[in-house]
Amino acid sequence: MRVAPEKRICLNCLFFRNDPGFLEAEFKGWSTLGSAYGSVRKDDGICSRHEEYLSAYDWCNQFRPGTRLERDHC
C-alpha cells in the first residue's frame, strides 16, 4: 500500500527535524530573543537533506517515509 500523496510532506519525512529543543540548539541565539516553543514557528523545521528551513507542509520529490519501522525495511 502506497502512502497517500497528501501525506508526502516534510512533516512525515525522514529528513525533517522540528523538535523545538533541537532547533534551538541548532540555531544558536534563537532562544536569546525568541523561542522555538512559540506559536509563530508553527510546525516548521530543518530538512537535513536539502539543508533548508521549511514549513512542515512543504514537499519535494525526495520524500522518504520517516518512521523507524520503515527505515528498518529500507
Binding site: 510532506i9 544558536k28 509563530v40 510546525d43 514549513s55 520524500f63 519501522l69 525495511h73
Partner: protein
C-alpha cells in the same frame, strides 16, 4: 542493499505505520494541541490564572500582595537587610509559586525539570539581587535601572564566566516576557487600546513596510539570495527573531539564513536597548513618545521592554523627563504588541505566496490562509483578555475607590508580579547572549540589515516624536 537503494524513496508501508513510531527529533503536527504544547498558550493560562486568583482574593476581602513581594526602596544596607529578613517567607513562597507553575508547564512542553529547576533557582536568586540594586535610592545616578543591570550582568556571566549549556532550560526569555506582557494587559485599560491602537497599527505599518523593503532591496542590490533578504527584512520589520524564523519557514530559506538573521537581530537589539533610552534621555523626550519609538524601532519584544522600562525608570528618578514610567511601557506595548506582532501570520502568508508563485521554488506547498491563525502570536489574545477583564472590574468602581482600594489590593500586586517576570526575562537575555556562538553574518547581510536599522530608527523617531506625538504624550489621559 546498495547506497542508491537505501536512498530510494520507499513508499510501501501502510499509513498506519506513520503513527506507530515517531522520530525523536520530529514532532507531528501540533494543530490544536498547541493549547498545551506552545508557550504562548501556557503564558495565557498562567497569567490569566494569576489574575483570576488575584481577583478571587480581592472579592473575598484579601489580596495577593503578600506573595507579590518585592524589595522596598532603601538607602542603607541595614534598611535593605531588615526589609529582606522581614519578608523572607514571602520571597520563598513566591519562589515556590513561580517554580511550580513554570516547571509543570515547561515539562509538558518538553523541557526537563531536572535541568530547569536548578537553573531557575539561579535566575530567581540573581533577580532578587538585581531588584535590590534597582531599589537603591541612588541607583539611577549610576544608570543601574533593573532592566539594564539584569542584561549587563547576564552578558558578563555568559561571556566571561560561562555556564553549562543545560542551564539554558531556565533561561526562557520568550516565556517570561509573554507572561509579563499578559500581566501588563491587566494594567492597561481597554479604552486606551481602542483609542491608541489604530494609531499604533498605522505607524507600525508604515515603518514595517519601509524597513522590510529597504533591507530586501539593499540586500538584493548587494547580491544576496532573496530568501535571505526576506528573512533579514522580517527580522528588522516585523518582530525580530520570531519574524525572521517565521518568514524563513514560509519562504523555504537555506539553513544558514536564519542564524545570520538571528545574529543581526541580537546585535542591533542589544545596541538599541542602551542607545534608545540614552539618546531619549539626552533629548528629554516624553516617556510615551519614547515608548512608541522603542516599539517601532526595537527588534524584539523582550529587548524593547528592557529599553522602555529602563527609560520609564529614568523618568521616575531623573528630573526633567516628562511623562510617567507607565507611559513608556504602555506606548511600547501598544506599538509593538498591538501594532506589529499581530501581523506576523499575514507577513508569513504573503511571503509564502510570493515565494511559491514567483521565486521558482522546487519544493513548497500552496499557502493556506489558515496559516495566519496558526502563526498568530496567541499570547496577544491573553493580553487583550487581561485588559478586558480588568477594565470590566475597574468600571464598577469610582476613581477614588480605584486609587484607594482596587489599585493597592489588586492592580499593584499584579504589576509587581509582572516586574518579576520582566526581570527573569531581561536577565535571561543576557545569559543567553553568547557573542562567540553567534553565526558569522558577513558584511553584505550586515549592511543590508543596518540600512534597514537606519531607516527604521529615523522614521520611528519622526513618527513618534513629531507626527503622532500628540497621541503618545497623552496616553495617561
Amino acid at each position: 542493499m546498495t547506497e542508491k537503494e537505501k536512498n530510494d524513496i520507499q513508499l510501501t508501508e501502510t499509513e498506519e505505520a506513520w503513527d506507530e513510531e515517531a522520530d525523536d527529533l520530529r514532532v507531528k503536527s501540533v494543530g490544536w494541541k498547541e493549547l498545551y504544547l506552545k508557550e504562548d498558550w501556557w503564558a495565557i493560562w498562567l497569567s490569566l490564572g494569576l489574575i483570576v486568583v488575584a481577583y478571587a482574593f480581592f472579592v473575598s476581602g484579601g489580596s495577593i500582595k503578600w506573595i507579590a513581594v518585592h524589595p522596598a526602596r532603601w538607602s542603607t544596607l541595614t534598611q535593605l537587610a531588615t526589609d529582606f529578613s522581614s519578608h523572607i517567607v514571602q520571597y520563598i513562597a513566591q519562589f515556590i509559586m513561580w517554580l511550580v507553575v513554570f516547571t509543570l508547564s515547561l515539562k509538558v512542553m518538553g523541557i526537563k525539570p531536572r535541568e530547569f529547576i536548578p537553573s531557575f533557582i539561579f535566575v530567581y536568586v540573581c533577580s532578587i539581587l538585581i531588584f535590590m540594586v534597582g531599589a537603591w535610592e541612588h541607583a539611577h545616578h549610576y544608570n543601574l535601572e533593573p532592566p539594564l543591570l539584569a542584561l549587563a550582568l547576564g552578558m558578563v556571566i555568559a561571556n566571561f564566566i560561562g555556564l553549562p549549556r543545560w542551564m539554558d532550560a531556565g533561561f526562557r526569555v520568550e516565556y517570561y516576557i509573554k507572561v509579563g506582557i499578559i500581566l501588563l494587559g491587566a494594567t492597561l485599560p481597554l479604552t486606551l487600546i481602542v483609542w491608541a491602537g489604530p494609531v499604533a497599527i498605522g505607524q507600525a505599518s508604515i515603518v514595517a513596510v519601509t524597513t522590510f523593503l529597504v533591507i530586501f532591496f539593499v540586500g538584493r542590490r548587494l547580491g544576496l539570495d532573496r530568501r535571505l533578504c526576506a528573512t533579514l527584512g522580517a527580522g528588522g520589520a516585523v518582530c525580530g527573531v520570531s519574524g525572521s524564523i517565521a518568514i524563513a519557514g514560509a519562504v523555504g530559506a537555506k539553513k544558514e539564513h536564519a542564524p545570520i538573521a538571528i545574529t543581526m537581530v541580537i546585535l542591533w537589539a542589544i545596541v538599541m536597548i542602551f542607545f534608545l533610552p540614552l539618546v531619549s534621555r539626552l533629548l528629554q523626550l516624553h516617556t510615551g513618545v519614547v515608548g512608541a519609538w522603542v516599539g517601532t524601532s526595537e527588534f524584539a519584544d523582550a529587548a524593547g521592554f528592557a529599553a522602555a522600562q529602563a527609560y520609564g525608570d529614568m523618568a521616575a528618578n531623573v528630573p526633567g523627563i516628562p511623562g510617567s514610567p507607565e507611559d513608556a511601557v504602555w506606548g511600547f506595548t501598544l506599538m509593538k504588541v498591538v501594532g506589529r506582532d499581530i501581523w506576523i501570520g499575514i507577513w508569513a502568508f504573503v511571503m509564502a505566496i510570493i515565494s511559491t508563485t514567483f521565486w521558482d521554488r522546487k519544493s513548497g506547498t500552496k499557502p493556506n490562509p489558515a496559516e495566519i491563525w496558526w502563526r498568530f502570536p496567541k499570547f496577544v489574545l491573553g493580553f487583550f483578555v487581561a485588559s478586558i477583564i480588568m477594565t470590566l472590574i475597574s468600571s464598577q468602581y469610582s476613581l477614588q475607590e480605584y486609587n484607594e482600594v482596587l489599585k493597592p489590593m489588586l492592580v499593584s500586586p499584579i504589576k509587581s508580579l509582572r516586574t518579576w517576570a520582566f526581570i527573569f526575562c531581561f536577565f535571561s537575555i543576557g545569559l543567553t547572549t553568547r557573542f562567540r556562538e553567534l553565526a558569522s553574518a558577513g558584511t553584505k547581510p550586515f549592511w543590508a540589515f543596518t540600512s534597514g536599522v537606519v531607516a527604521n530608527v529615523a522614521l520611528g523617531f519622526i513618527l513618534s516624536s513629531i507626527v503622532f506625538a500628540h497621541y503618545w504624550e497623552n496616553l495617561s489621559h
